[in-house]
Symmetry: C2
Subunit: 502 residues, 2 copies
């Protein structure tokens, strides 16, 4: 109480100082600027007073807050590296992923863990696992243990609908999600956060609804199985989300979201409450039409590492609600065509390969992208390519399936025997194929399919009994070390998702 | 930025000081207490740092914040009087309503306004208007002007479901709402805030759902017309509330809810966002099944004056969304049986007359309630009763319809010619009747009726065309100064709501 009073005094001094400064101001501009500052500082003073008034009856801050806040603070710390769901800014040498792992407290995906995935799925691991694009996790081992012991899980991923055409970077989590769905033969939920976009952007709800349907068509074109995939818009499914959203909000203080997300009093209250909406689908009880009353079903979330703050909060809150913590598997950031730190977006068309691009556009964009080749052929032959800053090679690492060919290019290109133009040519062929296949698949997606994927329907084949039987069968298979029968590929036709050639 | 840094420095000093104090602490208790304080202060320090980080990109505080904050600050100010939706605390002489009007900035209900209501409805005003129980308003004149000009309005009221049996104080807004519905022949929405109770109380959502249905039966027993009344639970209707809830939240900053409601960072984020849920039903667009796409339909909200913070926020936000501000009509607080400042609640059964009480219980409670009569008969005959602290008389002012008889009692009782026992006897008869009638009406309320009132149904007779025609007819009638045909009383039988005898 003394301390609060002390702060009120300090804040009062600040206001007085500003008012004195305003009285002595000589220009209108100065006065206007000071008025704004005074207004802000008065609001803070009143907040402190309100806090003082309420402090006698206020519950104490949650235990986890300090530890979590420390982590978050460190995550946006000394190196100048900032990674939040809304801002990704590397230091001078780009993102320091080792530091990010330490700061966020996530685990590295080890070769042992990858071998475990291969054993359990009876399939070679996805190249993105082997090549470290998906590089970090939380509780993946626990999830695999439970799966092996016969407890099923579901996959949860999502997207904020935007007016921008989706680009190939947006496709990565969905392509990997399709691999997970097929390899583990598990149900999938995809959250479309139209409410988030509305709250953060200058976008109406009506516009968000339009963009959302367009984005959903791109997602369906990836080839998810409608018999085990539920896609939902927050504003459509809020009726079912709301009970868990309320429970999460009740267990989350203002201090927690301030510390984890850096919200301030100037942020709208929709933002303050939104993390609960993204957290809710991490819990099976949010989907009774899929999972009935089962509370033992785990959740695996593939996402870009910048989404970790949401799931740190989710995992913090889960035990308080008697829910299982979700497991996470995180991808590195996919670079823009202008270099590792560059942003991708429709405002600068040359920054990314969009899913609507023609082969000609792709050729032009890759032709112009940042490479690590020498300035001249002579220099290149002499020194070789700097792969660490070579976008064409980094794209091949993601989109070229053939491990042997990739290794060959790595050796030849870095030795200077292969030219940037040759590497780009190979990438152009792959990307043009990927995009053309996607466009063909997307053209086949009908409005009826969108409606089907998004309807709150009974997932009969995931009925409780069958789901349990399935899990048992799964375990039985593993014990016999036999390869699992490959799931029948579902309509719509899958886009050219990279699959292992090993 | 300098100021924020200065505050970070101050806050850092506070933390250091506390840590030093902890190091020098001699008892475990002292250490534990200091640990808690340190944790809180560290959280604040981190919040400030996060604010600093985010401040470059944060939007500026809304213009209204300072003015609103000033008002709220004053409302809980120097006199020691505190009136918020969660706390009502008068000064030494009870609630100073004049001060409340000034602080909140609401208007007095004048005799002219009451005459206007009588003229427009073609009926004598409700005794609670004439007697000043409903004493204050916002924009009631504007609403009546629009009504006279042919624009219809709807009434919105609500209740937070609680485990407590409802008492007669809870009935007041609903009885008055029934008068409004009948007199103006307008549609009505009743919000049951199960989410609010869940967020504020130690109550599960399942329990809230059970209490809610019980409370709804009591409300239906008041006699609302099912053909023009929609009762909804927030968790049931959130699908339809959500678009306006999002719009309101987007237009409301953390500073605004801090200043208006006194929330602190220790409050859960559900509380921070809840005001938008209570605000949303103030806008006709929240009920498309009732009002279609019409945006000219106004809203009148009868409520206890402690709810004003919610509607101050609502009215602040309305123009930003292009919506009409709701009008409000506020009641004074209804006193508990133990005296003007006493709380009513099921934890102290003698504090209130509950809707489940028997005649015997009512007799006992009123017999024991606080009166303003003399200590002895002699003293009473000599000095008369002090009506300002006489609960039986104050209850009669609310529940005795007969103006002449009330005046007679006022004169005789305050002169000491009538004894407290006689006054209590008269009150017992009235309250026993009221409660017995309510119980009889409630016993007739079926589960089917609850389901009907709460179903999102098409209000055919309120269809756009008819509603417009109705409004025109209404205006025509007013011009002819004819009394409006009384609406057919609807099943279930109305409880003994006071109606004017004048």
């Amino acid at each position: 109480m003394d301390i609060l009073e002390q702060k009120i005094k300090v804040q009062g001094d600040i206001v007085r100082k500003l008012k004195a400064a305003k009285a002595g101001a000589t220009t209108d501009e100065e006065r206007a600027s000071l008025s704004t500052q005074i207004k802000d500082e008065v609001a803070k003073l009143l907040s402190l007073k309100a806090e003082k008034e309420a402090s006698s009856s206020a519950p104490s801050t949650a235990d986890e807050t300090e530890a979590e806040a420390d982590k978050a603070d460190a995550g946006a710390g000394a190196s100048g590296q900032v990674v939040t769901p809304w801002e990704v800014e590397g230091g001078e040498d780009g993102i320091d992923y080792d530091r990010l792992l330490r700061d966020f407290g996530t685990q590295e995906i080890t070769p042992e863990l990858i071998a475990r995935v291969e054993e359990l799925t009876g399939k070679p691991a996805h190249p993105w696992l082997r090549r470290g694009l998906f590089f970090s996790h939380r509780d993946l081992k626990e999830l695999l243990d439970a799966y092996e012991a016969g407890t099923p899980f579901y996959v949860y991923t999502g997207r904020g609908p935007s007016s921008d055409s989706m680009h190939v970077g947006h496709l990565i989590p969905f392509l990997f999600t399709k691999y997970l769905q097929d390899a583990f033969d598990v149900p999938l939920v995809i959250q479309m956060t139209d409410d988030e976009k509305f709250l953060w952007k200058n976008m109406s709800l009506d516009d968000a609804a339009i963009f959302l349907r367009e984005n959903v068509k791109d997602i369906i074109a990836v080839g998810f199985d409608p018999a085990k995939t539920f896609i939902f818009a927050d504003t459509d499914y809020i009726q079912h989300l709301y009970p868990n959203v309320l429970k999460i909000r009740k267990a989350t203080t203002g201090s927690m979201v301030r510390a984890i997300f850096g919200f301030t009093n100037s942020d709208n209250i929709g933002k303050w409450g939104f993390p609960a909406v993204q957290a809710a689908p991490s819990f099976a009880s949010t989907f009774p039409h899929m999972f009935g009353n089962r509370r033992d079903i785990r959740c695996l979330i593939p996402a870009a590492i910048d989404q970790d703050p949401y799931f740190r909060l989710t995992r913090d809150v889960a035990p308080k609600l008697g829910y299982l913590k979700p497991s996470l598997i995180y991808t590195r950031f996919f670079p823009g065509l202008q270099g590792a730190g560059s942003k991708m977006g429709s405002s600068s068309p040359m920054s990314a390969i969009f899913l609507t691009d023609s082969k000609k556009q792709i050729k032009k964009k890759i032709g112009a992208c940042v490479s690590g080749g020498g300035e001249t052929i002579e220099e290149h032959r002499a020194n070789g390519a700097n792969l660490a800053r070579d976008i064409p090679f980094q794209y091949l690492e993601v989109f070229l399936d053939d491990d042997a060919r990739l290794e060959e290019i790595r050796v030849e290109y870095s030795a200077g025997r292969m030219l940037t133009g040759e590497v780009k040519k190979e990438l152009i062929a792959i990307m043009a194929d990927l995009v053309a296949n996607h466009q063909a698949a997307r053209a086949k997606v009908t409005d009826e399919q969108v409606t089907e994927f998004m309807s709150v329907r009974s997932f009969d084949h995931l009925g409780l009994a069958e789901f349990r039987d399935y899990a048992k069968k799964q375990t039985g298979k593993q014990k016999k070390k036999k390869n699992k029968k490959k799931a029948t590929p579902a309509e719509p036709a899958a886009a050219a998702a990279p699959t292992s050639t090993a």
